[in-house]
Symmetry: D2
Subunit: 166 residues, 4 copies
């Protein structure tokens, strides 16, 4: 099964800079994280599209994500997108609106706590997304915290720090 | 969603005894493992049925698992069973044969490396099983290593250390 | 052996806030870290004195640390102080200058990467400090990264991200 | 500072075999463990001497350890020996008896729980041994669990799972 993982940065990919104590999107942790999972049947391709805190994403950044998804659609059985949670819904709604007649699932995921932390939810969310990629019908989704939510209408629940579909 | 997790021991649940250096099914690590996952919508009940290396399981043990599954069926939306990998297929075939007209998924899982090890696959497999519990149609399955395999006909691949359906 | 651990915050004690993505001195991780070490002979008392990034420490904060060290001297066989690395040397020089005729070792330590990160050096540095507490003669020290450096004259090496005595 | 680490196997170095579920001395984890520590001033050489459960060590094995220690003495500032805990005292007494006029410390250490386990004491004990190597006078020691015990007369405390000097 061919999976394309597009990373756009966000909390899940923030790493620590020992020189100035900052926590930012410096480099992707995706290959490191994937190497800890056992995925014997997956043929994974990954690619950085934009790489930033999702609060700083512009409309142009979201367009680039959409363009990259379109480019990878023909050669993917599913696409997983790592994204900051603050504007993930915005990108999800755009993909849902623009990608009519999807043949495959597009799954957005992220984390409330960066991968580099001991108590991160990143590994859980990526593990779930890669499994959902096999099981859900075509559509645009958030997969996180044992939830599978389909666009349109998915929003971040800022109090409970997860996603929900009211 | 109501999930019942039945543990029967096996590699996933083996723990280390510092007094004699043995690695055996001493006590369940399930509550500890579940506490590291974010499962806001799951109502999880867990129960020890038998607790041993699956090579030592008797036909009577397997009957007790079947009986416990039957007892929990009416009050569960899905049942996940932790099981040693060596005879997991035997138990899966029994459940598949005896449980006609299933209304819910029964998911067997385990690990090649115990939960207590740094490089365990236990967390991945349980995360996947709890997500598959939401997504797959009624039936008896193995979920492990990003694979979802439905009984009958699932077997352990001893060379590649995973499950397969030839 | 009676050890007093005074925490003053700093990088070692920074924790992540999932609501706003900040990394700050919110609460001490000391009891959690100590519970992962085997210290059968140590009688450990710990206490928060000030709790902040050491760049924000005032002269008054440093005085409070000095006062607390003085108060704990009579009932301690050694004192370990967790401190931000940026102004640790300033506090160390003050303690060295003000505490004449020390009967016990005072050991300052910290971390380049907070305890909550997978690749933290916090556990190494605290482990080393608690062992040095048994072995070094009275005096004021930095113990970190397999180095034992005695004041006066210890400074942070900003390029190599450790402490040194030129 | 030049440190020689000799590994002889034992619990600290036991690793898991996924094919048969055994936990044995298959290969050294020493380079992996050392890579997680920050040791900017240490020049570390390591070498496998024998590699087994210390209950299976013969007098000849212990002689080989002694010979290897003798060979490395002239080029080391300290020697650390990883050893199974069950007969560590026997090897320690032999080294103490045979190595008169030591110029450097020889430190034996090990673990009650193998390095590959999440809750191992291996990292603590090696961290402590590498620091003690800088601080203790010449002699033969066990360093473990925040204890520094000098031969002769050090024994394993089987109830409390640590070393002691009665």
């Amino acid at each position: 099964m061919k999976i394309t993982i597009l990373t756009t940065g966000g909390t899940i990919e923030k790493t620590y800079n020992e020189h100035d104590g900052s926590l930012r999107n410096y480099h992707t942790i995706l290959p490191k994280m994937l190497s800890t999972l056992r995925l014997p049947d997956l043929d994974v391709t990954y690619k950085k599209v934009v790489f930033k805190d999702s609060l700083e994403m512009t409309e142009e950044d979201r367009r680039r994500i959409l363009d990259e998804v379109r480019r990878m659609l023909p050669e993917s059985d599913a696409i997983v997108i790592l994204h900051g949670t603050d504007t993930l819904s915005k990108t999800g709604e755009l993909l849902h609106r623009e990608l009519a007649e999807l043949r495959i699932p597009i799954i957005l995921t992220g984390a409330m706590r960066p991968y580099e932390f001991r108590d991160t939810d990143a590994v859980q969310n990526v593990t779930e997304s890669l499994l959902a990629a096999r099981l859900v019908p075509p559509g645009v989704y958030v997969v996180m915290h044992n939830r599978v939510l389909r666009f349109p209408g998915v929003v971040k629940d800022h109090d409970r720090l997860t996603f929900t579909k009211p």
